[in-house]
Symmetry: C2
Subunit: 501 residues, 2 copies
């Protein structure tokens, strides 16, 4: 396999999948673990996740939500209560059957103790609706107990057959919001509020443009009345579902017999929502922006926003450039910026540049003796590669301007890519042609007759699925009626198809 | 059972254990769940945990640590690698044996799919040394890869027979630090650095005085070279181990074959530490400070620091008191304080006072029409019950002073209690007499001959264990030699005994 010069990762054009896998590891974001399908999130990757968490958590709290924590384990019988949910979730999961190990009487090592079989197996939560609604049914008696607006940051486990770091792992980290409301309309408003948080986070923080829409019946969350989502596009033309917000109707309230006395004294079932984003966002981020040099990270969520590289071969020069570097770092940190000085003395400047480019630091400051003689340093942007010589007095302002520009430009570049890879298609021949290759083919905006049969037939033929029915049309004409690209039957409006991760 | 007037919880004197269990639930800190031994941490309790996490995380980062995340599951074989660790940890745990449920062919519901048995059972982590050292052994080749200073915020599971909310639950939340070092001395320094973080957090944030010491061989972490700890005292005279910092020597490095090339080119095993505190801190906090009115929380970590209660029976008066309340809240929040206004219109002021006293809000501001006529409001402190009338212009300063005083006074009260309940004992008769009752009996500082046999015999006779060998003696004479209180054999110094949670 060809690899990009001295970075140790393949190019995107060569092998997008390998490029991604190598980048994740070489950029110190994550590593494989000894447990099938589970990853280790390394400090650099976890710092990114912490920045994401902080931004999202602030949004949730600003919209009235509180955090709480519910058990990791769910009694098997709870999954049997909501019929649709069983089919969707309770199959591929980790099942705890014993509560003790004992020395193997017939050989070395340990075995699950046959005398410690659980009366009822426990499931490691794949999602927490059931265990949470078991509590809510105890907590809610009256309309005065509503709404409940709770979020949980947690790990969940789904026994996936094919895993890929960040995008689809057996265990992953996420947040799951679970709210309870007196009315359908209030629950609907909640799902939309959160959907807007997700859109804003994806676009304003991650610099990833997303489609905001409704899932088809076939793609909705099992157990939901309906599901909203944000959908991003990767550089290899595939869709990624980056976040979902579900209106659960009264399904879980009925399954867990959760009624409240209304202000008028009537007993009614509670309305519910749930919503989540996960460490999959990190995979989305990488696939949206990164390049053959490694990770490209928007400044607002970058673990390190600025790296300073002091140069000089002799001790005296190094002392000088390090002194200036520390003073620059101090002034940047005073503005709240996340700054790293790379003072390693056995690495060349070029090796350091590669090192931090690979890890996605948005702005680099090169502090060299010749520039210092002229009272200046060099600023380099990770996303564009642009370099500029700036006076020491202007460093702070230039860095802030560069970070702002990078945040904006990374978004604009991804938006332009999405626009260039979104096609309106009106014939089945053209639809098939677009999806004739193996990989992604961007978004296809086409008419659909609204039936599950057609959705399945299109998916079978092309592996493209309906990603969403946009809430805000990409083009006004998308909401005009037409004929289904597959069946020729009447269609109310266009929907968005793509192959998806 | 007798309960305190209108609070619905028993008194401490009546039944400390029931007082605790009821307080945890009535103060909205936690609730029982449907899963044996697992609790639900409610928003008020979780907000407290978030404040604790933030303070600790800042300390860890200030001392050079980074966060990361390792898998929830540990292959069974990993536990078999470190012999002592197996005995200590790999027994009472949750064992995952299947990765799928299927419809029961012989009846209703779901069963673990017999075709989906895992080749090797997975253990839900009771602690993560083994899975983490499996990664470290891949990451560490050279002294240049050291030290590794990583912390993880995670859930862990230990299948406890007797559980109690926060103090001992099957699943609990904690942080676990795992560091790797080139030398024994550097690892030793790390364990001490963290021990000081824990002491400072307990005393300066939680206002809980702690003994800082070394565990005896019998009480140390299984797999450690030695263990340091902080030990708190509850109001019923029992010790609580509130945090531990372990020097693991080269035990885990040897188990996972983790060697590094030193600067001199020699291959050596890596030295390790691990350290943790958990949601048990919340139990410690409650048992140390709370009273018959409910939760008493030191201001620095209180979820809500100030509650404002506007009064008035008619709409016009309420509008006036609510207006003033909001303006006070705004000025307090501008100073970074966490403030709640209780604007509920169907509750009496007295009911609101009880409500927030039960939930441990350190300072209450009563905004009543008569006081307002005089340009004043009433401030009440939760910990002492003191009330004072203060001018509106002085509210901010008075609140800040009250919060500072409460933080200090709560600590001093707990310290005085500990001093009053710490006894130096020189005869076995007196030792037995002190522990003749069923409950806690404070700390007993006594001579011990240093043997496991004596430690076991004392524990068998009195249920008191060695809590620690203090690093800083409670009294200088504690470090003078003497004779063992049990065996009469020579003793190098006094150690601290207590019954423990």
């Amino acid at each position: 396999m060809r690899v990009s010069s001295n970075l140790g990762i393949p190019s995107r054009a060569d092998n997008f999948s390998e490029w991604y896998n190598e980048l994740v590891q070489k950029a110190d974001l994550a590593d494989y673990s000894a447990v099938r399908g589970c990853m280790v999130i390394k400090p650099h990757g976890y710092a990114l996740w912490e920045n994401m968490q902080r931004a999202l958590d602030d949004m949730f709290k600003a919209t009235g939500h509180q955090n709480a924590y519910f058990p990791l384990f769910i009694p098997k019988s709870f999954f049997e209560k909501e019929a649709e949910h069983v089919d969707g979730f309770a199959k591929e999961c980790a099942v705890v059957t014993h509560h003790r190990l004992k020395a193997n009487p017939n050989g070395p090592g340990l075995i699950p103790d046959p005398d410690a079989v659980l009366e009822e197996p426990l499931i490691v939560r794949p999602t927490s609706e059931t265990i949470i609604w078991n509590s809510y049914s105890k907590w809610i008696q009256s309309y005065r107990d509503l709404p409940i607006l709770i979020n949980q940051w947690a790990n969940v486990v789904r026994w996936e057959m094919r895993t890929r770091m960040f995008l689809r792992t057996t265990e992953f980290l996420w947040q799951e919001g679970h709210t309870a409301h007196a009315t359908y309309d209030e629950a609907e408003e909640e799902t939309k509020t959160i959907l807007e948080c997700y859109r804003s986070f994806a676009e304003d923080w991650m610099a990833v443009p997303v489609l905001v829409g409704l899932k088809s019946e076939g793609e909705k969350f099992k157990g939901a009345d309906h599901t909203y989502c944000i959908e991003a596009l990767t550089q290899d033309g595939k869709a990624i579902q980056a976040g979902t917000s579900h209106h659960l109707g009264q399904n879980f309230a009925k399954a867990f017999d959760c009624k409240f006395q209304s202000a008028e004294g009537k007993l009614e079932y509670v309305y519910a929502t749930s919503w989540g984003v996960s460490t999959r966002l990190i995979g989305t981020l990488i696939m949206a922006h990164s390049d053959d040099k490694g990770f490209v990270c928007p400044p607002r969520i970058a673990p390190i926003q600025v790296v300073i590289v002091p140069m000089g071969k002799d001790a005296e020069t190094r002392e000088r450039t390090i002194g200036v570097s520390r003073s620059i770092a101090e002034s940047l940190r005073a503005k709240g910026l996340r700054v790293k000085i790379d003072e390693r003395d056995k690495e060349s400047p070029g090796a350091k540049y590669n090192h931090w480019e690979l890890r996605g630091v948005p702005v680099r400051i090169e502090v060299g003796p010749r520039d210092l003689d002229a009272g200046s340093v060099v600023l380099a942007r990770r996303d564009t590669g642009e370099k500029a010589t700036v006076l020491l007095d202007d460093v702070l302002a230039s860095v802030e301007a560069s970070l702002q520009a990078a945040q904006k430009d990374i978004y604009q570049k991804a938006l332009a890519f999405r626009e260039a890879n979104t096609r309106r298609v009106d014939t089945w021949a053209e639809f098939q042609e677009i999806f004739s290759g193996e990989g992604g083919a961007g978004f296809v905006v086409a008419h659909w007759d609204g039936t599950q049969e057609t959705e399945d037939a299109i998916s079978d033929a092309t592996k493209a699925t309906i990603r969403c029915i946009p809430l805000v049309p990409l083009h006004p004409s998308d909401e005009e009626p037409g004929v289904c690209v597959f069946s020729g039957k009447p269609s109310a409006r266009r929907v968005v198809f793509a192959r998806a991760y």
